[in-house]
C-alpha cells in the first residue's frame, strides 16, 4: 500500500514537471504578455522597461530556472496582471468554484441515481422513458445555450432567481461560502443546475444500464428467491455492484467540473477559477496559468487516488498492490 502510494506521488511529480515545461515553451511561442497588457500609448522605452520589470527580458531557460527555484521555496510567482501571488489569487477564487462543482455533483447524485434506478427497474414506464429521452437533451444541448435559456426564463421572464453573480457569503472555517445564506443559494441555483445537467444525464444512463445488466444475474435471482425484501435486493445487492462505474465517472466528472467550469462561470459571471483562468489565458498571464494547471493536475491525481480507494471498499476483489 505504501509503495503503491509512493509510486503514485512520484508519477504525479513528473506529470507536473512535464506540464510546466510544455506551458513555458507554449506560452512563449504564442506571444509576449506585454504586447497585450501595455498601454498602446507607451513608447519603445516604456515597453522595454515593462518587459524588464516582469523579467521577460531574460532567456527562457533562465525564466524557467527562476520559476523552479521559486517553486522549491513555495512561491509560484506573482500574476503579471494583478501583481498578487498566483496561489493567493487562485485561493481567493477556489471556494466559489468548489461550491459550484460540489453542488453540481450532488445534484447529479441526488437526481441522477434515483431516476436511473427507476428507469432501470421500470424501463417501460412513462417516467422511465421520459427520463431516458430527457437525458439525451441533457447530453447534447450546449451548456452556454442552456445557461442563457435558464437566465431568460427564471431571471428575465419569471424574475424568480437573480441572473448572474455570487450572492452574500458567510464565514465557515475562515473561508467565505455563499451556500450558507439564502441570497447565496438563490444565486447558486441556476449555475449549479446548468453545470449539473450533463452529469445528471450521464449518471442516469450509467445507473440505468447497470441495473438492466445486473437484474437478470443469478445472485439477484437467488437473493429474491431467498425472500429478501425488494428494497434490500435493489438497495444493497444491485446498487453495490453498479456503483463502480458510477464512482469512476463521478470522480472524473468532479475533476472536470472544477477544472472546466469556464463556460458556466462566464455566463453567470461567477467569480470562480474558471473565469480567472480564461481571463489569464487571454492576457498570457503565465504565473497564474502555470499555478492553476499545477493545482488541477494534483487534483486529478488526488481524485484518482480516492476513486481507487473507493473501489477496494466497494469491491473487495480489487487489490491496490496489483494496480499500476
Amino acid at each position: 500500500m505504501t509503495a503503491w502510494l509512493l509510486r503514485r506521488l512520484v508519477q504525479a511529480a513528473f506529470v507536473v514537471l512535464a506540464m510546466t515545461v510544455i506551458l513555458f515553451i507554449g506560452l512563449h511561442v504564442i506571444g509576449n504578455p506585454i504586447d497585450i497588457l501595455i498601454s498602446p500609448e507607451a513608447d519603445q522605452a516604456d515597453r522595454a522597461r515593462a518587459i524588464a520589470a516582469l523579467g521577460l527580458d531574460q532567456p527562457l531557460w533562465r525564466q524557467y530556472a527562476l520559476f523552479l527555484w521559486g517553486m522549491l521555496h513555495g512561491d509560484l510567482g506573482r500574476s503579471f496582471v494583478f501583481h498578487e501571488p498566483a496561489l493567493q489569487l487562485i485561493g481567493e477564487r477556489l471556494p466559489a468554484t468548489l461550491e459550484l462543482a460540489v453542488s453540481a455533483v450532488l445534484l447529479a447524485i441526488v437526481i441522477g441515481i434515483p431516476l436511473g434506478l427507476y428507469a432501470g427497474l421500470y424501463p417501460n414506464s412513462l417516467l422511465g422513458r421520459s427520463a431516458m429521452a430527457g437525458s439525451i437533451l441533457g447530453f447534447s444541448l450546449p451548456t452556454f445555450w442552456v445557461g442563457l435559456m435558464l437566465i431568460m426564463l427564471f431571471a428575465v421572464r419569471l424574475g424568480w432567481l437573480p441572473s448572474t453573480g455570487r450572492g452574500q457569503t458567510a464565514l465557515l472555517f475562515g473561508i467565505r461560502w455563499s451556500f450558507l445564506t439564502r441570497d447565496g443559494l438563490a444565486h447558486l441555483a441556476m449555475p449549479a443546475f446548468n453545470l449539473a445537467l450533463g452529469n445528471i444525464a450521464l449518471v442516469l444512463r450509467l445507473v440505468r444500464s447497470g441495473v438492466r445488466e445486473t437484474l437478470p444475474l443469478d445472485y439477484v435471482r437467488f437473493a429474491r428467491a431467498k425472500g429478501l425484501r425488494p428494497a434490500r435486493v435493489v438497495g444493497v445487492h444491485v446498487m453495490k455492484n453498479i456503483m463502480i462505474p458510477v464512482v469512476t465517472v463521478l470522480g472524473l466528472e468532479f475533476g472536470g467540473t472544477i477544472a472546466f467550469s469556464v463556460v458556466t462561470e462566464s455566463i453567470f459571471a461567477w467569480p470562480g477559477m474558471g473565469k480567472l483562468i480564461i481571463d489569464s489565458i487571454n492576457v498570457l498571464d503565465r504565473p497564474v496559468i502555470v499555478a492553476y494547471l499545477m493545482i488541477i493536475v494534483l487534483m486529478f491525481v488526488a481524485i484518482n487516488l480516492v476513486v481507487d480507494l473507493l473501489y477496494t471498499f466497494l469491491d473487495p476483489r480489487v487489490r491496490l498492490e496489483d494496480r499500476g
Binding site: I30, G31, N32, P33, I34, D35, I36, L37, I38, S39, P40, E41, A42, D43, Q44, A45, D46, R47, R49, A50, A53, L54, R78, F80, V81, F82, H83, E84, L89, E92, R93, L148, I151, M152, A155, V156, L158, G159, W160, L161, P162, S163, T164, G165, R166, R182, D183, A186, S266, I267, F268, A269, P271, K275, L276, D279, I281, N282, V283, L284
Partner: protein, 524 residues
Amino acid sequence: MFPTCRMVILGAALAALTLPPAARAQTLRVGASAPVTSIDPHYHTYSPNVSLDAHIYEPLVDMDAASRPIPRLALSWKLVDNTVWEFHLRPGVKFHNGEDFTAADVAYTIDRIPRVKNSPGSYAIYTKAISSVEVVDPHTIRLHTKQVYPLLPIDLTQVYIIPHTLGADPATEDFNSGKDAIGTGPFRFVSYKSGDRIEMDRNDNYWGPKPDWQHVSYRMIPNDAARTAALLSGDVDFIEAVPTTDVARLSHDKKLHLAETVSLRIIFLWLDHRGMTPHVTGPNGEKLDHNPLTDLRVRQALSMAINRNAIVDRIMQGAAIPSGQFLPKGSFSYVPGLNPPAYDPAKARQLLAAAGYPKGFRIELDGPNDRYVNDGKIIQAVGQMWSRIGVQTAVNAITWPSFIGQANKGAFSAFLLGWGTSSGEASNPLRSLIATRTPAKGWGAVNRGFYSNPKVDELLTTALATADDAAREKLLQQATTLAMDDVAFIPLHNQKNIWAMRAGLTYAARADETSRAQEVHPAK
C-alpha cells in the same frame, strides 16, 4: 396544479430575498463589461481600471463627456514660461481619510508613479515629460518640463491624486485590500472581490455636487448576453458596452433607456509600407519582387473599394459612423470636410490598372476576432469587397493574444486594428501610429504599418512645440490631412459607445467609454 402552486411560493420567497425597495432606490448597480484588475490607480494603464478609479480618485484636470479638458482638482492652469506649467489647486478639498488636499499630494503622486513595482503598463508615460516639481504654496504647484510640452494638462487627466500621508511607496496590495484606497472622489471604497464586484459608498464630504447614490455596486459581467440579461431581469440598473445585436431590441423596450455617443475609438486597416511584404503575391500566386501597397494608387483603390456605409448599417447595426480621419466631429484638431472616399469599385479598378495591376493581386487580410466590436465580421466583409475589384483576399481572423504578437513582429501585410485616442486630440495617434519609427524619441511605437512621411513628422514636431492652442490645432489638422491623403492607413469607422439603463435614469454618454456612477442621474 400542485407543482405550479409550489413554484409560485418558491418564487415569492426568492423575490423577498432581494433588497427592500427603499434601499434599492439609493443604490446604483452597474454592470461593467471588463474585469477591473487593480484598485491601485497607478498600477496598470488599462481602461476598465481608469473607469473605476474615476469614482474614488480625481485628477487635476479631467475630461468632460466630449473629452475636452475641464478643471477637477486644479481650478486653473497656465504656462508661466515656455517650459513651466502652473496649476492653481482647488481649496477646501478633503481626502476620504479627512486630510486636506494640497500641492504636497500632487508632488507625492508624481513621484510615486514611476516607482510602482512590476507594473505591466506604467502610468509614467503620463508623467515622464515632467522634469521637476516645484511646490509654490499649498495651493499652487509648478511643473517643469524639459521641452515645451503643451499636452501636459491632457496627460494629467490620467494621473489620479493620492494623499502623501500613505508614506514611501505604498504597495499595490494595500490598495486592493482597501487600506490605501483613499482619494478625493465622490465615492469611497468599501470592498473589492476580484472578478466579481466593487462596492462603494457616497463620500458625504465631497467638495462638488453630491452623487444621487448612497451606494454603488460595480459588477463585472464580461459576457455580453449575460450583461444584457442582468439589466432585463433588474439585477443591475445600468450597463455599458451594449452588444450591437441587442441595441434595436433594447431601444424599443419601454422599461429601458439608452444613451449613446460617438467614441474616440477608430477602427482602421493597416497596410504594409515596407519594400517587401509577407502576404502579397501576384494574381496567380506568383512571388512579386516589390510591394504593390507602396503605390499610392493601390492604397487609394483599396480604400475606395470599401463600402463603409454597408459595414456600418449591416455589421455594426448603426452603432458606428463611417470615418475618414482619427477623430470624430467636435474633437480638437478634427479636420472639417476630410471624409472617407466614396464607395466606387469602378474607379478602384481603374486605379489598380493605372498602377500596373489590371488583374489585381492576392493578399491576406488579418485581424483579431475577439477584440473590437464585430472585428472578425468586418474583415470578412472587406475581403469580399476587395475581391470584387480583383484583389483576391484571403481573410484570417485569430484570437487577440496571438494576433497582436504577430502584428508587433511585422508578420502581416494588411490587418485590422483599433485606436482609442484617450487625449481627445490628433497628436496622440500621429505620434504613436503615423510618425516614423524613432525609438530615441518614442515616436511610431505602434506604427505597425511602417509608414514614414518626413513632411508629417516635421509638422508634428512643430505642433508639439507650439503652446498656442489655435496654432497647434491648425498644424495637427495639416498633418492629419497629409497622412490621410497619402492613405497611411485605411480608416473604416468610429464606434459608438452605448449604455443601457432602466427607465427613469439618464446618463451623459462619454466619448472615452468610461462609466461613471456620479454622472448617472434619476430623470427629472
